[in-house]
């Protein structure tokens, strides 16, 4: 029983980090119908930026979050203006190809700048944990989960309490309607893409402490993130949180009870099952275009 509870605790904490990473992916899809296959690569880029701030200037990853977030926001904006906007509204396959191309370019740049050896930020809280009776809570994951909750709350505030946020939601629900009431959908899309990438500033900072990473690590992340948003429902922020917790706990339960070879299969199994049982995901809604002609 202790093993089960401990595994669920660890899984929930890791799930919170996954939620932070998946929130931007689902936001970008919700507004632009762009499946950003470069999302994992942007996360690894944020991790490398955090590592650089830590190794060169001694800046703790938590302190680095605002800096990396701003940089990632700017990079997101530039990438949108430079490439993604050309395929917004095009067939989804086109945006997938462009996003994959961006991921490859980012991987190449990261390999060129930082090399292909594993990096990790050795923060003082990396090997520490809080002991509660027979259970423990790892400090780095707890901090990461706290950051995830704060960022997700901030994201919710932006989306529901600001004009830009309302414009994003309007554009995601009905682009034509948003245009009719004076929303500049192009600007909103750029802002949403930049926010989606900006959230990775916090996520990248946290994963730089929790997981060693190389430029090619993004393939593993994007598979997991896609599974999360498919499970939660593409475009649904709350769905992404639920999906992330399920995947996080699912991976650890699979390791503990089935075998250490199984976690890698969990995201793909989830995608497979969701597509069969509930294609719109837990919190997604079926659209007219989902109907079979």
């Amino acid at each position: 029983m202790n093993l089960l509870i401990q595994t669920l605790i660890s899984g929930a904490l890791i799930g919170a980090v996954y939620a932070l990473m998946a929130s931007g992916l689902t936001l970008i899809f919700g507004v632009m119908r762009v499946i950003n296959l470069a999302h994992g690569a942007f996360a690894i880029l944020a991790a490398f930026l955090t590592w650089t701030l830590w190794s060169q200037f001694g800046i703790d990853p938590i302190v680095a979050i605002p800096i990396v977030t701003l940089v990632m926001f700017g990079i997101g904006w530039l990438v949108y203006v430079g490439s993604v906007r050309y395929v917004r509204g095009a067939h989804v396959s086109m945006s997938v190809l462009v996003a994959f191309g961006i991921a490859l370019v980012l991987e190449g740049i990261m390999g060129f700048v930082w090399g292909n050896t594993a990096h990790v930020v050795s923060a003082p809280y990396q090997s520490e944990s809080i002991v509660l009776g027979p259970f423990y809570i790892r400090e780095d994951a707890l901090i990461a989960a706290g950051v995830a909750v704060l960022v997700l709350l901030a994201l919710q505030l932006v989306l529901h309490r600001t004009w830009k946020g309302r414009a994003i939601r309007a554009a995601s629900v009905n682009e034509s309607g948003a245009l009719l009431v004076g929303v500049s959908v192009n600007q909103v899309a750029a802002f949403a893409f930049a926010i989606g990438i900006g959230t990775l500033g916090a996520a990248g900072a946290m994963i730089s402490v929790i997981y060693p990473f190389v430029p090619g690590s993004h393939y593993q992340w994007i598979a997991r993130l896609l599974a999360i948003v498919v499970l939660g429902g593409l475009g649904s922020l709350s769905g992404a949180v639920i999906g992330a917790l399920v995947i996080g706990m699912g991976e650890l339960l699979a390791t503990a009870y089935i075998g250490a070879q199984w976690p890698i299969a969990v995201p793909f199994l989830v995608i497979f099952i969701v597509l069969l049982v509930r294609p719109q995901g837990i919190r997604g809604t079926r659209l007219r275009e989902d109907a079979v002609a």
Partner: protein, 410 residues
């Protein structure tokens, strides 16, 4: 309008793909040039990807051997030139690289790549071409049951026997000090798994109960669930088959879970020296970790003093990493065979000479069975006071005591 969007999108895809290929090309081209009459030696190495740490270290070992050999007048009176191609830790690329080295570069000799995983396809290409293949890191038993004639492993023992000395020592401990149960997590790697399987066989035969045994893939980054399961199993000793990252992550997860067995063995990770110490959080965290090792910086072996001096001159640092030493030893083995035979034309003669003779290297004297597997035994190292010491076997020990993990001496 629609076609315009599609056109621009397609152009973007082509542009990004082109840029990616250009960047990939920049980072992968490691082919060097050299004198026209040089003796060329080709090797594929994982300079990028999962095994890049070991690959880069091995490359350093090759380069030190190349430099010292040329300073001493070369091989058969000719300078040696090592041509290295990056295989990016990809088995398919290993095959492509060795074919290119043989057919396009037309190298005179071959050296192996890093890890059994990559040497399995690499050695097959060499065997097909009838070329001698000295590999510095190919300890999987699976490599030596294929009837190959040209492969030689230039370390002391195969993976299955690497932990034998350690396991025999544990089995011989007095009953009140010997653990009753053990956990065996291991990386799914042909170099790591046999080490742990070999140790488990000896330890279970000695009456130490196996309470946890699992194999994790190379992509595993989070060891919390594995450690939780080990804690739940009540294991009194942990014996892990590890490469590098996974070993470091295991220690961090064990720290967080408060798992502190008296005996903690990892097959390879701790031999990565300072990188390991830094990864696990300092010398105190590594204190008492035991590991199999092929090399020690203070060993009084053939050429070791020159190797260490040249390594420091070329790459700095105090202690050459084990993979660099293994790479250097591979060069020594190759040179011994070539000098003895007097030519590189008859590669079968080179292989025959190695089958019949013993070669002195910085790892100690090496000799081989008919299948190319070595006949010796590995050293067992332990981190003590921030230094990597040899603790077993006793006649090769550089320290008088064997420590518990972060504890007192046995």
């Amino acid at each position: 309008m629609r076609s315009s969007v599609l056109f621009r999108g397609a152009a973007m895809v082509i542009a990004t793909a082109t840029a990616a290929l250009a960047l990939a090309g920049c980072s992968a081209d490691n082919t060097g040039g050299g004198a026209d009459d040089a003796l060329t030696i080709g090797a594929s190495l994982p300079l990028t990807g999962e095994f890049s740490q070991g690959g880069l270290d091995t490359q350093q070992g090759y380069e030190v051997w190349e430099a010292l050999t040329n300073e001493a007048g070369g091989l058969l009176g000719r300078d040696v030139e090592i041509i290295v191609r990056d295989d990016a830790t990809n088995q398919n690329t290993v095959v492509t690289n060795y074919n290119a080295l043989i057919d396009e570069d037309q190298v005179d000799l071959l050296l192996g790549t890093q890890s059994s995983l990559l040497n399995i396809p690499g050695s097959a290409v060499a065997e097909q071409a009838g070329m001698l293949y000295i590999c510095p890191s190919c300890g999987s038993p699976d490599m030596y049951n294929r009837g190959f004639e040209y492969i030689f492993f230039s370390q002391q023992a195969l993976a299955a026997a690497q932990a034998d000395v350690f396991a025999a020592w544990v089995a011989a401990l007095p009953e009140d000090q010997r653990p009753a149960t053990a956990a065996y997590p291991t990386l799914d790697d042909p170099f790591a798994r046999p080490v742990i399987e070999g140790a488990e066989k000896i330890l279970s035969a000695a009456g130490i109960e196996t309470v946890y045994q699992d194999v994790y893939p190379a992509t595993t980054k989070n060891f919390d669930a594995i450690v939780n399961a080990i804690v739940d199993s009540g294991a009194e000793m942990v014996v892990q088959g590890s490469q590098f990252e996974d070993g470091v992550n295991m220690v961090l997860s064990m720290d967080r879970a408060g798992l502190q067995p008296e005996i903690f063995y990892q097959s390879s990770s701790p031999s990565y020296g300072e990188q390991y110490i830094e990864g696990v959080g300092g010398a105190d965290a590594a204190e008492g970790v035991m590991f199999s090792v092929s090399y020690h910086v203070d060993a009084e072996t053939d050429g070791n003093e020159e190797f260490v001096a040249k390594y420091k001159e070329l790459f700095g640092g105090d202690v050459p990493p084990e993979d660099a030493a293994d790479g250097f030893a591979a060069g020594q083995v190759l040179a011994a065979a070539v000098e003895a035979v007097g030519s590189t034309d008859d590669q079968a003669a080179l292989a025959e000479w190695l089958h019949d003779n013993e070669v002195d290297t910085i790892l100690g004297p090496l000799s081989w069975n008919a299948d190319g597997s070595p006949t010796g035994a590995f050293l067992i190292g332990q981190w003590q006071g921030g230094e990597s010491e040899i603790v077993l076997p006793e006649d090769a020990a550089t320290s008088d005591s064997v420590l518990r993990w972060r504890g007192a001496a046995f």
